[in-house]
């Protein structure tokens, strides 16, 4: 197990290095620059800024300098605002993580429950209703859903303020973020639950007189969860990175809009920092998913 984890960590470092190199050279290759503005930057000012941030050096030198600083824990400053990047990323990540984790917990619990109900009531009305709503949930883009929620709960019913700086309300963004994964988890749980219920061991357990509750929750559900876990790992990393659309509509200072804005602005240092940070997150999430397999399915052997 330890050997396996060690190997995976090593692989992870290599992947992150590759991601960082590709991102660095790709972002430098696309047209545009961090000091482009509607009112053009004075050439003397631009030269001063380029020399301050090493942008006047060849791209490969810039990459080496950047990675050198990064290894010493220096994530640099934003080319757009001159702000330190690391505190910015961590505070924005905290916001995105709070929302993302709440949304995932919500999506997972409801998804598994609905999926199980759908499987157990197959072809009856609860199943049909669930299928209907999960189809809707998968099909509806988050910006439509977020706008609808805003319209209904903030403007029509007036239950929740659109904007409240001292006490922001996270219910609507959590719902917006969780609907898609919830619908997906429901469908996934239903399919694999149906699959599990038809397995021989379930039939055997049933024949041996195991109670229905124990049969469903201990025997069938545990096996049915493996695909769900496979989905959850990357999905958690994805949702933790924040959603630009949901963040913009509900005015949330998360990582999603920061990432997109940094690309529009060609804020190279921020693009790099967010990419590397997200790559680390993704790699860790995948590793944790693989370890979680071990606990749900003892047949999985890390040594082979």
């Amino acid at each position: 197990m330890l050997k396996y984890i060690g190997k995976r960590v090593l692989l992870a470092i290599v992947s992150i290095l590759i991601v960082s190199a590709i991102t660095f050279f790709a972002m430098n290759a696309i047209p545009g620059g961090p000091f482009n503005k509607e009112k053009a930057t004075d050439p003397a000012v631009q030269a001063e800024l380029e020399s301050r941030y090493n942008l006047d050096k060849p791209v490969t030198t810039q990459y080496v300098l950047y990675m050198g600083n990064l290894i010493h824990g220096d994530w640099g400053v934003s080319l757009k605002s001159g702000r330190e990047i690391w505190p910015d990323i961590t505070s924005k990540f905290a916001v995105s993580a709070k929302l993302g984790i709440s949304a995932m917990i919500f999506a997972t619990i409801i998804g598994i429950v609905l999926g199980s109900i759908a499987a157990l009531t197959r072809n009856k009305w609860p199943d049909r209703l669930i299928v209907f709503f999960t189809t809707l949930g998968t099909a509806m883009p988050s910006f439509v859903l977020a706008t609808l929620l805003l319209l209904l709960f903030c403007l029509e019913l007036k239950w929740i303020p659109v904007y409240n700086s001292s006490n922001p309300n996270y219910i609507l963004p959590i719902i917006s973020l969780s609907v898609y994964p919830m619908a997906y988890i429901t469908r996934l749980t239903k399919t694999s639950m149906l699959d599990a219920l038809n397995q021989d061991y379930v039939r055997t357990a049933k024949a041996k007189g195991v109670s229905r509750v124990k049969l469903i929750f201990v025997h069938a559900l545990r096996n049915a969860l493996i695909p769900v876990i496979t989905y959850l790992g990357p999905q958690i990393a994805y949702i933790l990175t924040g959603s630009m659309v949901v963040e913009n509509i509900f005015t949330i200072g998360g990582l999603g809009s920061a990432f997109v804005t940094s690309i529009t602005n060609r804020d190279y240092t921020t693009i790099m920092a967010v990419t590397i940070f997200l790559a680390i997150l993704m790699v860790v999430a995948n590793l944790l998913t693989d370890i979680a397999y071990k606990f749900t399915d003892p047949r999985i052997d890390f040594n082979n």
Binding site: P31, S81, S91, T147, L148, C154, N248, I249, T251
Partner: protein, 572 residues
Amino acid sequence: MKKKVLSLLLAATMVVSLAACGSGSKKSSSDSAKSATAVNTDTSTLYVNIASEPDYLDPALNSSVDGAILAVNSFVGLLTYDESGELAPALAKEMPEVSDDGLTYTVHMIESKWSDGSELTANDFVYSWNRAVAKETASDYAYLFDVVARNDDGTLAVTADDDYTLTIKLTAPCPYFNQLLAFPIYMPVPQAAVEAANSDGTTPGAWCQEAGFVSNGAFTLSEWKHNESMTYVKNDNYYNADNVKLEKLNYMLSADDTATYAAYNSGDLDFIDSIPTDEIASVKDNDEFHVVDQLGTYYVAFNVGSDLFSGMTADQANAFREAISLLIDRDYIVETVGQTGQVAADSFVPEGMEDGNGEAYESSYYDADETGSAKAEDAIKLLEKAGCEVEDNGDGTYKTTLNGEAISIPYILNENDGHQKVAECIQQDLSVVGIEMTIETEDWNVFLDERKQGNFTFAREGWVADYDDPINMLEIFSSASGNNDPQLGKTDSAAAPDWSGYDELIQKIYAETDTAARAELLHQAEDMLMDTYAVIPIYFYNDVYMQKSNVSGVYSTAFGNKYFMYADKSAK
């Protein structure tokens, strides 16, 4: 069968949800047109939205209009703008004394304090201004100090004669220097804090990147939730604090029109600076809707070095561009796209500017209300003069060719609803004579690059003045300017106009000591620019905002700055 029923049900639900969406937005907009929207009754705090997260709060480093709004409400310089939009003394006791030759300004200051209670003296200005122009500060607006003379050591010729007297020497008389004294880059910054946060000289703006920094304006920043909100509290040490009624000023940091407009309608915001284009028609008769003049011009520009003009003489290229200018129906654009009463432009220097000689600067190069298809015949003559062949198809349409080939003009713009609609109007206008215009939407950053480098034929443009003087509009087309997107004087194309005279004119304007002669030179420069038709003015900007009926005392300048400090909010 069951599947069919299910899919029908699904389709029905989607239709219902879409309909709900549509009727919801309609309802809110028609509501707002008829009656006032919900108000916020927290009278101690004004809730506003200007834009998303600002880049710099340092008045010397800011280069955006939204940043300038934050600056004028949290810093104050020697002069400021009053409610009528006129310049007024702030930290200056009275308007500056100007020497007879117009070269020396003497400012007597009032005694005032920084927000931390320390004295603010003339030396703070000497420091702040020299810091603003220092190379290491790398300020975009440092060039606004070009009018100030330099000492032998390169520092600005600005001296603190005593704690409250400042003497400024200029290189040439500058009719708009008092306006500069109210500009954010001329505001003071606290030396000790600035230097403490910038020990190695590479982080000039670091001193005001979090809440709690020292300033001298009406409000100081007490809380900053990045990308969410900023809360400013009243600064009791502000020189005019007695007239500040608000306790707090809260900015919602968002550039999402849907969110800010919803927050305004729900009463969570008292003031919004942008309104979704689709909602303008429904709110413009509302009392909460305000339009103020802005000194700026929305225009389109041709790249004079573009391949489109290859083979033409400079005169032919001018005639071609003039034809395009005549064909663009400005009134239609203003009415259908602008919608807020913008004025169709007949010159590049916007209506309402002063000439620096105490008079209004007036110029007109064509009848802006008479452009469009009505001018098709004149345009056709010009196209023929440019070497094009125009064939009448006999059904009211024309076919224009150049050297036997159909003409197709690529037009670039950045992604934006309004710009897109303007482009479509122009496309339609040009089709009258059978000229095709293709619309190419580009990523904002790429768009800026392409325009600056001259990698385009025809492009969307706009310029809002920083101060009320035509030089601010005209100097951007000198050949050395980074904003000279039409590439005037930058290309060796034989079809491009000779531009050396323009650069000379701009230099003459900078050096001219007689204001009447200077005003004349400004007109000559604009004549020369407009003769090229490389710059095609569409309309003069105005600025719209919405403000609740229970709010009063907010005012705006023609440069887009909003002054919230003297706002008052009643409970109803």
